[in-house]
Symmetry: C4
Subunit: 277 residues, 4 copies
């Protein structure tokens, strides 16, 4: 396994060119949201923009309205999406497990082009599909917490927690995906590569929505062209750092997931600053 | 009676474990809201998150929309709620006294599991029920202001104010509840235990919505596992401190209830910091 | 005529008592809003809370929704309002001159209890009513800008500007109202009393919505029990100071009306602080 | 060609008079927005207010609702607009290329009075109209990015980028417009006048919505009476400076378009401050 330090992080972060414009920084699609669960895709979308993605579109159920919609996000109903027009896709935040999500998930799994990240209810919709990994085209990132991992593996949460490192190694290889197993020391596995063990973060992150922010951060890095294993490790590292900054500035408990957002560019700059040293 | 000082507070505050996640920090349900009165449950829900609760769901009348909904709160209509799936329940903020609230209140009173806090219009719906305390299962916290207390006791507000300490002692025992009588020196009584007299707060708190914030703070502490009497005393103490901070930083009048929210983690940290000294 | 200085201001500002609660700080009703013009009553309502009012209800056309509604404001449709239940009323912000406002204006003019402030389109609805001042019961404050004053007087704007002091003196007496004639040196007249000439403010206030903030500030002071002439002079003075603070902190142009809101408690504290010196 | 420095900027910036009120600072109409693309006109409208415009109205499709609507903006449906009642018009942000925009564009092109700026989808609706410049009355500003410029010229984006200076000179003269060709060194051409080359800005601006902010800034300056070529050059210069400030304060990537807004008055003050030196 391996960890990241500041100089290694700097080498992995996307560097903007002088002639960058919103089109060169990647367009992320976030698929999620359901009645009463509209904040999750918004958090993911803003996290992607804060991570440097050039454009973010939220793809939501037809007719769903988002009271929290910020000015910088575009919203499109599923029926009007051109699914292969995006550089990366994050699916799951606030999606719910309503049955109309199953066909959408199948569509997403079948896309050969953009790297896709599945989180939250997209994982819960995925788990019951027999041998789902045989239907997947292209690159896939999964970001389960232990309970979601248990459902994916047909184990109990306790069994997952007792064998975190082994399961990430085994399942990332078997499923052919980049696997992010969240928890106190989040792990990232990608088949043959060594496992990444995260060293940032703190218990203040134990609040609803921080997972949506993580999914958006990794998605934003994928849209900017990072390889899945690198995007996942860098995203997990920076997410923990943003949480460390929030805990230091706000308190060891009581941060909101949205408090992470303005801190993302700050921790990215901290990493990028190292390049020139 | 007793008061709290900083070191006593520190011993009562919830401490996060290294392996905390949103599921271990408690899930609070806030039941409230009505047309035009949508801000009250939102204030309560955000106050609970700011107090360290892991998840907060707002349970609202079917069809009610919340223009103020923040990204971090989940909203569910009453018809889709599984009432016993929460660690604690706050009922009342913005609820109104429309008759459809009566059946909901009866449902909440009958729950044996989660501790419930009744505030505002939930108290006004409760008052006319003859000998309501005989229907209550499990733990209950009531947070009346003097006018609501008067309705609960069949007294005038003047009679309540003239006998605050006596009434809290008598009624908390008779009703079998934790009773928070709000006012310039808020009292907390819990049957046989000594009465808590609060020493924090200031007249800047005399503005609409600060009661909703208090209800959410106590609810957030209940969801994290504090016993009702402790959650009430600690919540009242920290709420007053957040108001003191707001008055010092904003002014002796003209604070908004929402100004308290970002100050809650700061006053909690102030308390927790004392543990290690 | 007279002006205010800091120590005179301090003597006029409301002082909170230790036992203050939201009910003792006054309940203001703001009547306004129309499709696409929803921000104006919200600005007025928030300005009233920032000026120390205990509660603010926005009374709007039945069916009107306010996307900007903040958590601390209550919204009620006209059909459900109990018009005489408020300590003061501000009518006009965003109201439009749609004909359904005429009956509402008549209702408001006929109230004997709460002091009422008419601003913006309420003045435009008032102007065509022949000898409207003979229908008025109780205290009334009018806050026209020169164009609205011209309509009220049957003059041109140029004629109003050429005779500001004379018109305020004459019309406030004839109409039996407190008259606030806005402009570079806003005037306040109240029948027999000397005219107040304002010395605060700057051209950064020349942006949409600052008039709504002024109406809300005066309304908030009325709700707290200030006499109309004093509420108007103090409100105009503090509004200008908040604008001076905003210009110093943001720039000489490009402030938004909402930028004034967090600065209101600061300028009020500045005034109140003087009491003890 | 020419560039701007600080003292030249100061001479071009609008100076507020002591007797300024919202009516003397110009009223801008922003025409745009479509389902799911509501943030773009809001960004443009707020940017205009932050640039000193006195009033901004958003003109949107009948029935379109804007969840992001801020308190300071007025919204009107197209069917209720009096098109010639504004000092300037910005058309395009979030407009979409739905066919109902074509008639609106024709209306706007035919107005002889207010200067109009066309951006984004207004340019995409304009491009297919044969010899559209023969239908234009009065002053027009176009703000294409290279892809939109390519569509307007019938070229590829590569051909545009290879001949930026030449195309701006040629097309601004042929079309009789002020032409802003966006990119790493934005150009402004106006027929016979020398080309302006911008020297401010940085790659952090490569994020969705920054173009809407630029359109609003130029529109706000037009509404205050600046000539089209000057408004365009000053707007481009200040927009880049606001981006430089945001990058310095937030980070070299991950700013949101909305982060520019509070920085506009600061960079304008920086320019205006120079006048007196």
């Amino acid at each position: 396994y391996y960890t990241l330090n500041r100089s290694e992080l700097a080498a992995l972060l996307p560097q903007r060119k002088a002639e960058a414009h919103k089109g060169t920084q990647g367009h992320l699609l976030v698929v999620g949201g359901s009645p009463g669960m509209t904040g999750a895709p918004v958090l993911a979308g803003l996290a992607a923009l804060r991570s440097g993605a050039g454009l973010v579109t939220l793809g939501v159920r037809d007719g769903l309205t988002l009271p929290e919609k910020p000015m910088e996000l575009i919203v499109k109903p599923w029926s009007q999406l051109q699914w292969d027009a995006y550089d990366a896709i994050v699916a799951g935040p606030g999606l719910s497990t309503q049955p109309d999500g199953q066909a959408i998930l199948a569509t997403i799994l079948g896309l050969a082009g953009p790297c896709r990240l599945l989180d939250a209810d997209a994982l819960n919709l995925l788990a019951p599909i027999p041998r789902w990994w045989e239907q997947v085209k292209g690159s896939l990132v999964l970001t389960p917490h232990p309970g979601e991992m248990a459902r994916l593996c047909g184990l109990t949460t306790g069994e997952v927690q007792a064998n975190r490192l082994g399961l990430v190694k085994e399942k990332s290889r078997e499923w052919g995906v980049t696997l992010v197993l969240k928890g106190a020391a989040t792990l990232v596995g990608s088949g043959e590569e060594p496992i990444y063990i995260n060293t940032t973060g703190n218990p203040a992150l134990a609040t609803g929505g921080t997972g949506d922010v993580l999914a958006g951060m990794i998605g934003g890095l994928l849209a900017q062209g990072l390889a899945p294993a690198q995007a996942a490790a860098v995203g997990v590292y920076l997410h923990g750092q943003a949480g460390d900054l929030a805990a230091r500035e706000i308190g060891p408990a009581g941060i909101l997931a949205g408090d992470l957002l303005p801190r993302i560019p700050r921790v990215m700059e901290w990493g990028q600053a190292n390049v020139d040293r």
